[in-house]
Symmetry: C2
Subunit: 137 residues, 2 copies
């Protein structure tokens, strides 16, 4: 059993998967620093990501492995995999082309709360591709 | 009931709290783009963050609200609150001083997986403060 000291200060990679066998991973553009998306990995997805150098996630809704970009073409080449102090979050530094969000934006974080409100959002980005052309129903 | 269209393309802020009433929030340095940490908010923590302009989280281990920096002094002034396409992740752009991780580093992501391994980490940062002096046992 790893101690808190091992986990926080050690150099053994012991990612903590939750009760569903998943660990959340943030994908950040290695060049611009933009946070692109967050998704989950199970152990196999993490292994495949390490082995292939391309981000593979686990889709909770579809209950299957999902190579990012397998349908859209917007893959993520992984430059570095970081882990946080508790080893229960991953941060992937990735190289990407345009359009990482399935809604059509570069990042999934394309809206921000308007100042002075707690209910109203504003768009802070413009779409970079047409998802209706990319994802065929 | 909000539709997928409302959630993804709308301008109403309808954050999705999980079964435990929590939503994860990534804190990113507004100036440098560095991802600093990830923590959870319940509805009250989010309200207090919006109202006060400083990040307030909910500690799952201590089961209470936690104003970031209340003990360490390393507060987070919130510049912008972003939400992702599904509205189940928040991204806070924050202004901070040095030392956002309780282990002593600027960011909680101070280790990365060594190239060519799937077990071994390396440090990619140096400590910016001594946590033993900051957090009295």
């Amino acid at each position: 059993m790893a101690t808190k000291q091992d986990i926080e200060e050690g150099l053994e990679f012991i990612p903590k998967f939750d009760d569903d066998g998943l660990i959340p991973a943030i994908a950040q553009d290695a060049k611009t620093g933009q946070v692109l998306m967050v998704a989950y990995m199970n152990r196999q997805a993490l292994e495949l990501t390490v082995q292939t150098g391309y981000a593979v996630y686990y889709s909770r809704s579809r209950q299957k492995l999902w190579k990012k970009g397998e349908q859209s073409g917007h893959i993520q080449k992984v430059q570095q995999i970081l882990v946080d102090c508790d080893q229960d979050w991953l941060l992937l530094k990735v190289t990407v082309d345009a359009g990482q969000c399935h809604v059509g934006y570069q990042s999934c974080f394309y809206r921000a709360l308007k100042k002075g409100t707690d209910k109203e959002l504003k768009f802070i980005a413009e779409k970079v591709y047409d998802p209706h052309k990319t994802y065929k129903k």
